[in-house]
Symmetry: C2
Subunit: 387 residues, 2 copies
């Protein structure tokens, strides 16, 4: 199968903007001031790894009508000019005394004079990607401007994916699945865990990933103890349970799933944990249909997990949204009553604690279709694979 096309046609950005503007009208917002990578990219198509550098702030303003306005460092102008935007205002950054602040003030002053309300991301899973001092200074210079939290608007848009977005996520999920399928050829007793990580990254790239920004995992006798550590150089040993969890990317979209293996014959409790989690995942798959909620998904998975661990784990949730970021809204947790809609892309990520401080995690990626969940990942085998 050929790769999907990179990027998006202009109509996709126009449609996203129109949907945002409809919601902004309902909320009485004169604009959205955005500054985080996924949001700038979502409305403009501006796609660069340059965000790795924390030095320069980047701004996108989505007005109540019309095309978004970019207020960005000059170093990004050439790339921004390749997008559908035409109003691109730049300054020579870094400029500690005025990193975009006077350009923003010029833009927002008329709205401030009218006592308008603009939206800024202030809610859960957001951050302020500009110096707090600059934000305070900007606001102090715009008396009359009112700021509302626009998290709900952005969340409602980004949670439901377009066909082209789903294509990209499906593509990187397929790359991830092919990479995991190679692990039994790569991993062997005696291989240090960090060497396995390095080989996994190389394999994912060979399989077509653009990048592997996220790779965590663990390996230890009869089960691993932590799922967010960098790899040790400890060699894989007979009796280990090994887990790799990857967020690889293609054209700016993520997969996020894991696989577990036993080195030699697995112990009984690891085998049982694996079976419980496989069935918990299945309960999630069976529940992921439009109209059910994230809370329903949580309870469906948790009721299976409870066969072995009734504590519910402390990781806080059993999966989440997936797309331009490794983790996105919503959360499969008791607190999240988000109603599932067609074309949401989600991870199902049940986990449990067992034995003496061991933990096991499973993860699959799905898209919610009218008739139910469609797997984007190649389903993990029902039995713990031995390497």
């Amino acid at each position: 199968m050929p790769d999907p096309a990179r990027g998006f046609p202009k109509q996709e950005f126009a449609a996203r903007t129109a949907r945002a503007q409809a919601r902004m009208a309902d909320a009485g917002l004169a604009g959205l001031l955005l500054m985080t990578e996924p949001e700038v990219r979502y409305f403009s198509g501006f796609h660069t790894l340059f965000w790795q550098s924390p030095t320069r702030p980047w701004f996108l303003f989505v007005p109540a009508t019309g095309t978004p306005i970019a207020i960005i460092p000059e170093i990004g102008a050439a790339l921004m000019r390749t997008t559908w935007l035409d109003d691109i205002r730049t300054w020579s950054a870094p400029a500690p005394d005025d990193d975009g602040i006077s350009l923003l003030t010029d833009l927002l002053s008329p709205m401030a004079r009218e006592g308008a309300v603009i939206g800024v991301l202030k809610g859960h899973e957001t951050m302020l990607r500009m110096p707090l001092g600059d934000y305070e200074r900007l606001m102090a210079g715009l008396p009359g401007l009112r700021i509302n939290d626009a998290t709900g608007i952005i969340r409602s848009l980004r949670m439901v994916k377009s066909g082209r977005e789903i294509e990209k996520i499906a593509h990187i999920c397929a790359i991830g699945s092919r990479t995991f399928a190679k692990v039994p050829d790569i991993a062997h007793q005696g291989l240090p865990l960090d060497a396995l990580f390095r080989a996994f990254r190389r394999e994912a790239l060979a399989q077509g990933a653009d990048d592997v920004p996220y790779l965590v995992g663990g390996a230890d006798q009869g089960g691993y103890h932590d799922v967010i550590s960098p790899p040790s150089s400890r060699p894989l040993a007979n009796g280990d349970i090994v887990m790799l969890d990857t967020g690889a990317t293609w054209d700016g979209y993520f997969c996020d799933f894991d696989r577990n293996w036993a080195v030699g014959q697995p112990d009984d409790s690891s085998r049982r944990a694996y079976d419980v989690l496989w069935r918990a995942t299945q309960a999630g798959i069976d529940t992921a249909r439009p109209g059910n909620t994230c809370r329903d998904l949580f309870h469906a998975m948790q009721s299976v997990i409870a066969e072995m661990d009734d504590q519910g784990g402390d990781v806080g949730r059993l999966g989440h949204g997936l797309g331009m970021q490794l983790t996105e809204w919503p959360s499969h947790a008791a607190f999240d009553e988000t109603v599932l809609q067609e074309n949401m892309v989600l991870t199902l990520e049940p986990s449990l604690g067992y034995g003496d401080g061991r933990i096991m995690v499973h993860e699959e990626n799905i898209v919610v279709r009218a008739e139910g969940a469609e797997l984007l990942t190649t389903r993990a085998p029902h039995d713990l694979q031995v390497i």
Copy 2:
């Protein structure tokens, strides 16, 4: 040469903390509230790719005396317990209604009652890595607490590297140099640029990099036009000038440098641009000694660049600090009067515009020693290499 040791001994974190506390005492601060990855890692050793997920906030409080206190999601507790910290307070996150806020309030309330001042990063190159709404709510619940910008304190500490930090950066710079040396074997006419990117990442991993979070570049006839774009799938062609710029990592420390090549014989103006930039870099190397300033570095490089481009470019600076982040304070720019000190690690990154909107960039990484600059990268050849 064997790899350096991973991590740092406890004494290194204790020394960093003591230095911070001395500066906090001078500034009258009762503590530092930190929440960004490099700062949490700098004082604790907490090192994980899990920061890729924007869902959960993480906090570290450096008190006026004693060991830092971690206030973090439970999912990070096992890893944080492997650090030198002993006061680790956790909650089951995500918890949109209380993502660490009540734990922070408990910690900070006694200080608020005393009208104490704490430091938060509010200055240049910083961001607020927690929801702005939560920050405002936290502050509203702590009347009496005063917040000062602690950017100057953190910057002054992090800009000067320890011997162990320099070892790690030197190690990844050597890996990067070996990887660039392989490019003439990998690149050839007809190879799509995105395939070159993929092959470069694979080679960097094979050479020992943990990861290649940053890779940008360009290739076009007689020179490239943009230095922050993702790669196109355009095949390399005779007459192209190709540039790759990488930020690879080892044990959480970055290199950041680039190399240029000509596909077939280069045109005269590209050859001249290369020569000017090579000599501009040399002027930077010769100027990078304790007592000179970043501004001096800027002018030394700019005076050579002016032979071909007297505009000074719009990229804003000609290099920067390097370490736990791809780009760190200071900036080699006319506005930055930071005095160079022994053991600062810096990039020298002169660039110029030429021809019809073409740009060329050179970059080397150095450490400032008592006697002057020591190269961490293998110096680019004086003549533009042909592939």
